[in-house]
């Protein structure tokens, strides 16, 4: 087989895999704009015969999904901003500040990464119940403010900042907090952007924890509201596809913007995102 044939064959295979991968999402997009009942036609269609916005309108009027959208947006943005700051500070301290027991403490945290967070989910619920945080936004967010993986990611990156730069600033009499804020943060910005993209997407998509913590429907995040709707509206396929669209679209947009840094994060840390 000559090179030309190989190249053509390779691209045929790549395209087929791509089409198969994207088919479920393409069908979701198409079905969300179909008139009632058309998503259940056979053979299945991808393109609506008569595109309609009625399901989106129903979601935002009758089902008040805007409320859930705002809940998700508020929780995701707040958790992302706070966690980036908290983890950046800790990652910097582990990388550049000298104190007794630093390496042992860091190793201990890394070992803790082996434990799936779900193991502590029931007691965490009881703990938050005692703190009065069950059925609150704070209760959803607070366990995600600090993450060992994020600290690890920042630390690895900060290690590449030259010590001389920091020592020079110290000699000039700059305080540690000012050094962090004016010298370190600007240098490590790329990893913080990566971290923010990771945190945004994983917080938005999170399901189990909000499901456990929230009992009040008006506080539901989008995924929890969608799962709830999916139970009640099994037959309304077009409506459900519109709901899935509204849930997925924001993370997709964030991802398309931050694609490159997102990939870099996975490839560098090579760990769960």
């Amino acid at each position: 087989m000559n090179k030309r044939m190989q190249t053509v064959l390779l691209h045929v295979v790549l395209t087929v895999i791509g089409l198969v991968t994207i088919a479920p999402l393409a069908w979701m997009v198409g079905a969300s704009f179909m008139p009632v009942g058309e998503a259940a036609s056979y053979p299945p269609r991808f393109i609506p015969s008569r595109p309609t916005l009625e399901h989106y309108i129903a979601l935002f009027t009758r089902l008040d999904i805007a409320r859930n959208f705002m809940n998700s947006a508020f929780i995701t943005i707040t958790a992302t901003m706070i966690s980036v700051l908290v983890n950046a500070m800790a990652g910097y301290a582990f990388a550049k500040l000298r104190f007794g027991g630093r390496d042992r403490l860091f190793k201990f945290l890394l070992a803790g990464m082996m434990i799936p967070a779900q193991v502590g989910m029931l007691p965490l619920f009881l703990l938050l119940k005692n703190l009065g945080l069950v059925n609150t936004y704070m209760g959803i967010m607070i366990p995600s403010f600090a993450s060992i993986f994020a600290i690890f990611l920042v630390r690895q990156y900060v290690l590449s900042v030259p010590d001389e730069l920091l020592d020079a600033a110290r000699m000039d009499g700059a305080g540690e907090f000012r050094i962090f804020w004016t010298i370190v943060l600007p240098i490590v910005r790329p990893i913080l952007v990566t971290l923010a993209a990771f945190t945004f997407i994983s917080t938005w998509n999170d399901f189990m924890w909000p499901l456990i913590i929230l009992s009040d429907e008006s506080k539901y995040t989008l995924p929890v509201a969608l799962a709830n709707l999916a139970g009640e509206h099994v037959q309304d396929t077009e409506l459900m596809m519109a709901g899935a669209m509204v849930t997925i679209a924001p993370v997709m947009i964030v991802f398309l913007f931050f694609q490159r840094v997102y990939y870099q994060g996975i490839m560098a840390g090579g760990v769960k995102g």
Binding site: T21, A93, G120, L122, A146, W204, F207, L226, A230, V251
Partner: protein, 297 residues
């Protein structure tokens, strides 16, 4: 001067660490310790009202859990999901990575984005989508099978097919992530190795077999490990698509824990399940690490 600076740095370090360490201590490590204690008690719905009713019951929860058919059913289902889906996901993502990083491949970024898109999507949302794709009469899946001459399958309604259906969706959802890690591994393989193989007259397939795969061994282990650990926690897929049915054929350990804990409020029992799941994951991790040590390739 020196010691003053050192002291200042030490104080700053603890200030910088305080928020993160407090949060991780209180909301990550503490619950794990309490969880273990909880698993040794009969904590139930009455205990939530008044904590005085809680009694220490030793290993009773573990004994009754390990003696219950429900637990072993969930264990079998989870193991089925992990050992069917895990290898499938790793193989598909490895193949995808090799194809997409091929020297002849063009438009690499576009293909990578296409393959990666499902990873970003919200699990609950795509579970809702796949539930429709699996519809026995109108679903895209059975339509595709019909085109291939295969009779329709009642994917989510048949206890034999429900778990494979969930596996298929999970592989679709996750392979892009592993693929990316493999791509990173592929990039780090020195070009000279391929050139040397080409000089020796190795075909494209032989180069994959003798250069690519051996060089990827560490990446392979890493990907297998995180896939294994992640897949053991499977929850949202059965929760949304099947609610554990039909006839409990898709109840996973995580789903069982959720039902015990948050539907029936048997917290003691549920904590025991959580710890057993943790131990199972840990054993799986150890075995894989051992295999790796035994084979230094």
């Amino acid at each position: 001067m020196r010691s003053h600076l050192e002291k200042r740095q030490r104080r700053a370090a603890w200030l910088f660490l305080a928020p993160a360490l407090t949060l991780i201590g209180v909301f990550f490590f503490l619950p794990i310790v309490i969880g273990f204690a909880l698993s040794l008690t009969d904590f139930d719905i009455y205990a939530i009202g008044s904590i005085d009713t809680v009694r220490f019951v030793g290993a009773d929860n573990y004994q009754s859990t390990l003696g219950s058919g429900e637990f072993w059913n969930a264990f079998r289902n989870t193991a089925y999901f992990v050992f069917l889906g895990g290898p499938l996901s790793v193989i598909v993502s490895l193949a995808g990575a090799i194809l997409v990083s091929g020297r002849l491949a063009r438009f690499k970024e576009i293909f990578r984005t296409l393959y990666f898109a499902p990873v970003i999507t919200t699990l609950v949302a795509v579970a809702v989508v796949w539930r429709s794709l699996y519809h026995p009469r109108y679903g895209l899946m059975n339509y595709a099978l019909a085109k291939l001459g295969i009779p329709a399958i009642d994917w989510l309604g048949d206890p034999v097919w429900a778990m494979p259906a969930i596996v298929l969706m999970a592989v679709w959802k996750t392979f892009g992530y592993n693929m990316l890690i493999f791509v990173a591994g592929l990039i780090s393989i020195p070009e000279e190795l391929y050139e040397a193989a080409e000089v020796d007259g190795a075909s494209a397939w032989q180069r994959v077999l003798h250069v690519t795969l051996p060089s990827l061994a560490p990446t392979f282990l890493f990907v297998s490990l995180i896939t294994l650990i992640g897949y053991f926690q499977v929850f949202a897929e059965p929760y949304v698509m099947t609610q554990g049915g039909p006839v409990r054929s898709t109840v996973t350990l995580m789903l069982l824990m959720y039902e015990e804990g948050f539907r029936w409020w048997r917290m003691g029992n549920a904590s025991a399940i959580a710890f057993l799941l943790f131990v199972i994951t840990l054993v799986g991790t150890m075995i894989q690490l051992k295999l790796r040590k035994a084979d230094p390739a």
